[in-house]
């Protein structure tokens, strides 16, 4: 047995020679006191909320740190039959686009709203990569409140990064496409394809988003982004690849040049140009979906115009900084002075200096232009290079103590280095193939220097196997000391790309516990059981239903026919925390509902067969939850069955026609 583990250890050691001379396996990677650092005793709360992107599941999951416990999955870009999101009449509009209702997406990055460069715990922004969209989630209810579609974009990847006071959320194109919908040959890429950087303004008070303007850039792939801070407050930085402008076999053709660019955008200038009328209003259709808290209903508005800013007409707005090979992360340190580019194919990490960049611009130290956009000389903007950091640097976060931490995809490790002298200080392996990493507040002016989480793509031997597909993992490291220490790994839901985290105290006490029923402004609210009603108009039947422990009113409904469109408007009358009621109907192909206390939600049911359809509460609400049910009688079309409804003593009443 010992021999076997020794041999296995040797095998690992040879493949992981780059990492460390000490052999590390799943079992030996953790030191003795790790458990005590992540143990959150029953009845105690976690320190930190960790918001993790859901990747291809289109949702956002919320974990507690340091325990790694999953607290909630917030549906954002994906329908969720669990609670009716995207299925209920109220929320269908949230997923509306100019291509109809799109019930899924690829959710990559998240950003928590900030004030003065610090997290303020108000909103969480999320991007949809596939059908370009940006969503805003309210952190008092953990509900998606708004989704804005982005026109003239494909692969909304460098998104939704925000400025220091949440003035703007950005959305940068990964796949360049022609503007508008003109029919052009793919081979005309260089002439007809463009990338755009969209700037979405955010209302200070309501959070409401608005597509303020788009900056038209040459055809290339924008990858990631981050806003400046402090001295670089006015600037936004995007990493790019495929500045070769290839349109086929990118794996080879987009890796030709030694350097791609970091695109530096002066968004303050852009804002001024937009206000001064330097932009061009062009037709573009995109959906803007908002959820009205008072009406408890989402509406979708189709907008028809967007303001384009062309760098040609707007001098000093955009500059290019050369950055070695296909940069991914583009991260700004807490002081706002250093811009870290991560060439994912480069064997070094270039660190640029904001003050040097502005000096170079002032002194016109350019080395030509890219489609009219000035290229700053590499050396003129460079602070220095981190030598031999590892392979495949992707993304960097900061601890607020002068250190940077970069994820290395190819060599599967996290590398800690010093911003001051660019020396590598420490490295730890990840299990396995880390993508992004995250330090709570690690991309703000005030990072929390206690924990780092690595989000891994592969897990192999980390958890109990589950068939061909294994869970991805998140790994928690204690970074409070000189040496990073792995203290926990936990499986994740979906494939997390990026994450955000903040102190629990910032959000915990702001939670809405229930909706005030007296403020319920839903068009189909039922204010008390006495108001319960069934109304027929043609073949549309509206059922005004109430739910309270442990019954539904009405719970007997007759006089509904095959072919009717039946709308169950269920109002949860409870005024108590954590007492949602569910609602489901037998054979309903739609979904079920979860109705929060004080809320009204509508489920549509179109019976196409006669019969008795039981309906019931699906959320175990009380000792008499099983009894919380009723019957809908569906009769053949044209049958002589009067419309009747009632519950218990209220007897079956006949609705006046």
């Amino acid at each position: 047995m010992k021999r076997l583990s020794l041999m296995l250890g040797l095998a690992v050691a040879t493949t992981a020679a780059m990492q460390s001379c000490k052999m590390k396996t799943a079992a030996t990677a953790v030191q003795g006191d790790a458990a005590s650092k992540t143990y959150v005793a029953p009845g105690k709360y976690d320190e930190i909320y960790n918001f993790v992107s859901g990747g291809f599941n289109g949702q956002v999951s919320v974990y507690g740190l340091p325990s790694g416990r999953l607290l909630k999955v917030i549906p954002v870009f994906a329908v969720n039959p669990e609670n009716g999101y995207g299925y209920s009449e109220e929320t269908k509009a949230m997923l509306n686009t100019t291509n109809g209702l799109i019930p899924w997406d690829d959710q990559h990055h998240l950003d928590l709203s900030q004030t003065n460069g610090e997290q303020d715990g108000r909103w969480l922004f999320a991007n949809a990569n596939n059908t370009p969209r940006v969503a805003r989630i309210d952190l008092t209810t953990f509900k998606t409140m708004e989704i804005l579609q982005i026109p003239n974009s494909a692969g909304n990847h460098s998104s939704p990064f925000i400025t220091e006071n949440t003035e703007y959320v950005v959305a940068g194109t990964r796949f360049s496409v022609p503007l508008g919908s003109e029919d052009v040959p793919i081979s005309s890429f260089k002439d007809n394809f463009h990338s755009t950087a969209s700037f979405i303004s955010v209302d200070k008070n309501s959070g409401k988003m608005d597509l303020a303007f788009q900056i038209v850039l040459p055809g290339m792939n924008l990858d990631l982004s981050h806003a400046g801070k402090g001295p670089s407050h006015d600037w936004f930085f995007f990493s790019s690849y495929n500045t070769e402008q290839a349109y086929t076999l990118l794996e080879v053709n987009a890796s030709q040049k030694d350097k791609d660019y970091i695109v530096a955008v002066n968004w303050k200038k852009a804002e001024e140009y937009a206000k001064a009328g330097k932009g061009k209003k062009v037709p573009a259709t995109y959906a803007h979906n908002t959820y009205d808290e008072h009406k408890q209903t989402a509406t979708s508005e189709i907008k028809n115009e967007v303001l384009l800013l062309d760098p040609k007409d707007c001098p000093d707005m955009v500059y290019m900084i050369p950055c070695p090979k296909s940069p991914h992360g583009c991260d700004i340190d807490p002081s706002g002075e250093y811009i870290v580019g991560s060439g994912k194919l480069a064997a070094l990490i270039p660190v640029f200096s904001f003050s040097k960049m502005t000096k170079a611009i002032a002194g016109k130290q350019f080395e030509g232009d890219f489609k009219g956009i000035p290229i700053i000389k590499y050396e003129a903007a460079l602070h220095g290079e981190v030598q031999k950091p590892g392979l495949g640097p992707l993304h960097t976060e900061f601890d607020g103590k002068g250190n940077a931490y970069t994820s290395m995809f190819l060599s599967s490790e996290v590398v800690k280095w010093s911003l001051k002298d660019l020396q590598v200080l420490d490295r730890v392996p990840t299990y396995y193939s880390v993508g992004h990493l995250m330090i709570p507040g690690g991309d703000t002016r005030k990072p929390g220097g206690k924990y780092l989480v690595a989000y891994n793509k592969i897990t192999k031997d980390r958890f109990l196997p589950t068939g061909p597909e294994l869970a991805q993992s998140a790994q928690l490291y204690d970074i409070s000391g000189d040496k990073m220490q792995l203290i926990l790994d936990f499986p994740t839901f979906g494939e997390p790309h990026y994450a955000q985290a903040c102190q629990a105290s910032l959000i915990k006490d702001k939670q809405v516990k229930y909706y005030d029923i007296n403020k319920n402004g839903h068009d189909y609210v039922t204010m008390g059981e006495k108001k319960a009603n069934v109304v027929r108009k043609g073949n549309r039947v509206d059922i005004y239903m109430t739910a309270i422990r442990s019954h539904l009113v009405p719970d007997n409904i007759e006089g509904v026919f095959v072919g009717d469109e039946v709308y169950f408007h269920v109002t949860n009358l409870e005024q108590d925390w954590d007492i949602p009621h569910g609602f489901a109907i037998k054979n309903n192909p739609n979904a079920e509902l979860l109705i929060m206390p004080g809320e009204t939600v509508t489920l549509k049911f179109s019976p196409d067969k006669q019969g008795i359809y039981p309906f019931y509460c699906t959320d175990f609400c009380s000792a008499l939850h099983q009894e919380m049910s009723g019957y809908l009688r569906v009769s053949p079309k044209g049958a002589n069955v009067p419309l009747k409804f009632g519950t218990g003593e209220t007897v079956t009443s006949v609705a006046a026609k």
Binding site: I548, R549, E574, Q575, D576, A623, L624, E627
Partner: protein
Amino acid sequence: MKKLSQAGLMSIPVVIICLATLWFFPMWRIDMRAPQYPDGLSMQIWINDVKGDVPIINGLNHYIGMKTIHQEDFLEFVFMPVSIAFFMAAGILIMVLKKKILYYCWTGIFLVIALLSFGDFYRWEYNYGHQLDPNPPIKVPGMSYQPPLIGYKKLLNFEVLSQPDVAGWFYIASGLILVGITYYEWKKK
């Protein structure tokens, strides 16, 4: 007739102010706690109302067939303010007349009101705890649900604590002042 002493006279406005708190603060509270209600439930009884988590408590009580609590079901909420208001007015009259014997009567009336209110409170709790719906969803053999008049009691998995609230303490204080001054005046003659 003997005149009231200076102390006796001064006690009257103090008692009136103490009683006036009944209109600004709850007089009694019943706190409940159970594992599924970690933050606890609380009901505050005012001179003319019952407030707090009453809807939630009503919801729970329906399991065991207890009547739901509604402000309009209590005649006490009319009688109490009226009788206390009269009592306070009487105090002003005594302050003008300054007669010892009237002060003794005043104390006597207070004690009668206090005794009656406590008796009524007990009857109220008894009825709620015992007059249960014969067909409740949950029936625990031999169980009644009368809350404690004052102090702590365990009812099923609920811990119940019944105690005076702010105005209740002022009410008790005014009773102590009244009895104390009466005793003092009595001794002095």
